[in-house]
Symmetry: D3
Subunit: 237 residues, 6 copies
């Protein structure tokens, strides 16, 4: 029995609200239950220095948590003077995941930065960030299309992410904090709309897992991501 009473393959209530930021070229407030992340897309007319002259653009991401998004207040990273290893790991993951569905040549020599700021955390902030970050990115590309800055083929597919874990011996989908902090194994999957795997990160926190468990987790992840992609499609209708 999950603490939230959800079935093993049930996700939390998901919401993807577009157009929430007055200034940004794209934005999405994504909620996976009590996990709330504000994603914005910011366009810069220049690519990073190492891409100048190549004809290619870039998509990157930054991630942060508000100090009291969590049960105990965390120290503000701006005050400690550096981003933690965890923060950097997550923002690298978000960037890689979104680039997997963008044609950087069709984007051209520009850079889009996806900022994912966690307003409230209850497990799964990185998977919510990828899922909502896709919508912010999509809006930004639409904004560019409306200004003839890019052609139609920049985004090649949907991409979304979900966490899966082994909780009390059972594979479960979309862990909240209560589960996450106790799970034997915690894994994150990033999968495209057409079912291609972009990223797997699986870690045994307690005892190691086996191939059968990996297969079960992948199955749950695929079904969860299919659902997320449907919600993305509704959000951008």
């Amino acid at each position: 029995m999950r603490p939230s009473k959800r079935a093993a393959d049930a996700m939390r209530a998901i919401s993807l609200e577009r157009g929430v930021a007055k200034h940004a070229e794209g934005s999405c407030l994504v909620k996976f239950g009590d996990t709330h992340v504000l994603c914005t897309a910011s366009l810069e007319e220049k690519p990073p220095a190492w891409l100048r002259g190549t004809g290619k653009g870039w998509v990157t991401a930054e991630y942060g948590m508000l100090p009291r998004s969590t049960g105990d207040r965390m120290r503000r990273e701006a005050a400690t003077g550096k981003q933690s290893g965890r923060t950097q790991e997550i923002q690298r993951l978000i960037g890689r995941s979104l680039r997997a569905v963008v044609d950087l040549v069709h984007l051209g020599e520009k850079q889009i930065t996806i900022d994912c700021d966690v307003l409230q955390a209850d497990g799964g902030t990185r998977t919510a960030s990828v899922t909502g970050g896709f919508i912010a990115l999509y809006e930004c590309i639409e904004w560019m299309k409306a200004r003839q800055m890019v052609g139609p083929k920049v985004i090649r597919d949907h991409v979304a992410a979900v966490s899966v874990g082994i909780y009390r011996g059972q594979p479960v989908l979309d862990l909240d904090y209560a589960e996450d902090s106790e799970a034997e194994t915690d894994a994150n999957f990033v999968i495209t709309g057409s079912g291609g795997i972009v990223e797997i990160q699986g870690t045994a926190e307690g005892k190691p897992f086996d191939e059968a468990e990996l297969t079960a987790m992948l199955g749950l992840a695929k079904s969860g991501i299919a659902e997320l992609v449907e919600l993305q499609k509704l959000a951008i209708l």
Copy 2:
């Protein structure tokens, strides 16, 4: 004529929404028009080291802006590795303003941190932070009272803040970004519910101002803050 068509003594639409953060002991989402700030209060059972053994507590504040809260994306302070002088100036102001209405002896050896994170900026983020921060602080003290952690006399008065400026030669109340970036003089007033002045910061950006203008600005500020205090009272009914 103000860009927003407001009368010289009219504030923007103000909203103070309580209880918006699942984990925090107090919280408020404050809106001054398109300026939106999420304020949370976090209680620590210990005061800062320099107050241990004195019987007194402390209230402090931290301030941050989401990178794309502004028209152009700002660099994330966690990534640059330090808080700007402006950030530090603002968070010191918020802390001083809130401490002005707290009885630190009645608070006892505890610390409350008010985090003010700007989700969207359109001028006046520091005055919104003080005004909304008061509500978060108030909620936190109520939370403590409900647990018999403090007595009734911790908060001595209301406190709120508003900006005033000289825009095209005329004193105006509660500047938005369009006015703020062009104003000859920009001033922030922090005033208590009973009308005591806690802080004045007035800067001539263009030509110096005179005593008559100072008096006019103070008058506008007092009326604006009286209105804000009424809204605070409604919010905490």
Copy 3:
């Protein structure tokens, strides 16, 4: 009765010594009683990057305290690796104050940096820095005139600063450390030679102040600054 036995409207002994730095384009050792600040002006032939091509120049300031300028040794900011919020607040104030009397178009695409280093502190280091910094700036402009680098109209007015406070219920001028650490209200005024107000920063450390007290403090500040401007005029004869 003030600890220094001064009358409420009496400043400390003020001294403005020009030309004290062998290498700098302008310099002034300013003393407000036991507060001693060495101000130098350094000319750079280029403006900051964001002004290139605009025809305008810039005046900026940096501030520091020697570690043992104070009663207890302070940690050296170069060793801690960052400037405190207070340091940044003060150097921003000095820069704004001096720019208020400089015609940046007549200065042309150059930058002048005013360094204010506190050799000994006894309250009022920021107001001494503005007052002495003006002399260093003036010397620098004279140095430039002598080399035909600027025309006659770069400096438009004098500017000086003084602190005022409410000490044991009474408004007093030019607080030393003994008063400053106990004052109910502490305010700094920056005012031009012609009496225009450039900056007001007033903070109630204890109980809030009212409009009558603000008016009394402004009156003291104006008389103090008139005196400082006379001393500036003598110094640059």
Copy 4:
């Protein structure tokens, strides 16, 4: 055809040289072909602060690359003033992997730090670090046993790591730099001596991969790690 002419399931020449550091409680110079990593284990008598009083110990890891371990010289992280996101990601992985086979209660209130410094890099530095780090850790525990500091059951199993990828459409084992920089998918597996999966990190650099490819990669990884575990056993005979 692989650039190195190896069969798809062939690893590079592996060498695990124990006892190479005069001062350390454990050490191993591990070579995966031209990738050379010096691993040392350092024992501290105290656990990290957050474990004091719990009876448990800790194993952590740090990772670094010599500036000219790579084809182009990298900037020294000590000189840039921070560890990159990649460095932090790797050292967190090494620590998690080694803790997976250590009984922290049997270790007791102590901390072992595994330093993995890359002397020469040719792909797979993190997998070499886990594999050689295990030997350094093992030596350290033996050193402690010889001094009656721990009992026999601290290390529960072997653990090793290997990279696998999809190179030109084909799953291949233990990628060198020439392959790694061109592979469509790059994955790292950390697996115990008894075949339990501790960590999977798979990233599609080019086109997404599917479940069949994941299964093939896992198969290669298992066979590679079985071989590494045999070599570890020989090394610690």
Copy 5:
């Protein structure tokens, strides 16, 4: 012929002014010609952590240059966020030199910090710092003796420093900036009142030097330091 017309063995005008800092336990404004350094001694009642319980105290030094102490303005180290290698080298030298004449056991578990801040630089700032720092230290010990905090035997000898160089083929004493920037060899000697060598740092900037030149430089240094020690004795009469 030296640029300053001095004889090869002539030092610049030296001045050692005691008691210049209102707050410090000891102080000295030292001038070697146009090189002016303000030295203060600050007493702390506790030694550094690594000496607690040993019965021994410590003397340490910090060094800084005001940004416009030099011909071109240097960036402020507090603003750049770190002390340069040169700064650290110099402050380590000053600390070692002063400790060479202090009986740390007789000092007892206390720490004295000597701050040497260069107000104006014209070559030889580190040698002036050692020479003037000794006076500040001496005053501090006298201050402690007057309060029965130490016995009579804390300071065992005088110590002073001077620079020597090979300038246009000739050994010369006490280089100013004009010589220093052109000298083939630049050396600093720290020597006690009784003639013991505490530190030699000699660097060939151009062609290497030989033993005869080293001997000549040592001779000049000894005579210069004998003179400095006489001046120290006069200063502390």
Copy 6:
């Protein structure tokens, strides 16, 4: 009697192994007994910014210690976020020493960085770094000659370094850690193949030394360096 039983003028076993780094333009693994330093030379086609357009090149050095190269583990400088004063002092010394034998005009507008990373420390790491760094530099110049990037006259002489000290009253050559930590005086000499002195750094850790001791130390250093230069010649045959 020295702890190592060596005669006062006997160096430890010295080894200079060339060509140890696959990627670097030059390299040397140098051993002075149990002190092992890996030196690499990295060529950049551009000089540092301040030399552009002068026709001259530059040789610089960086130095680091692996965390467990020492008896107690040292904190990793990349993790602490800065290089210690000692590290900076040493890398500046290595750079100066190597530049003393390089004709920077013949090198042309290029930069060579010598990285010296201490794999194992037992005293004398800086002298081993200079001695081995010379071989890495030499190899790099040979590599450039083979590609017609420089002419024959870039390296003008050999250069090597050795430590000397006063240990239990007696001058001894090439101190290991056991001696170094107890020596009354510790000195490092950098001398060219033709016997010119490039650098002397001598520090009395305990009682000051006199001229006779300095002369004795210089004599030992000269004989030690003559031996090192012979070994360098053999290494580059």
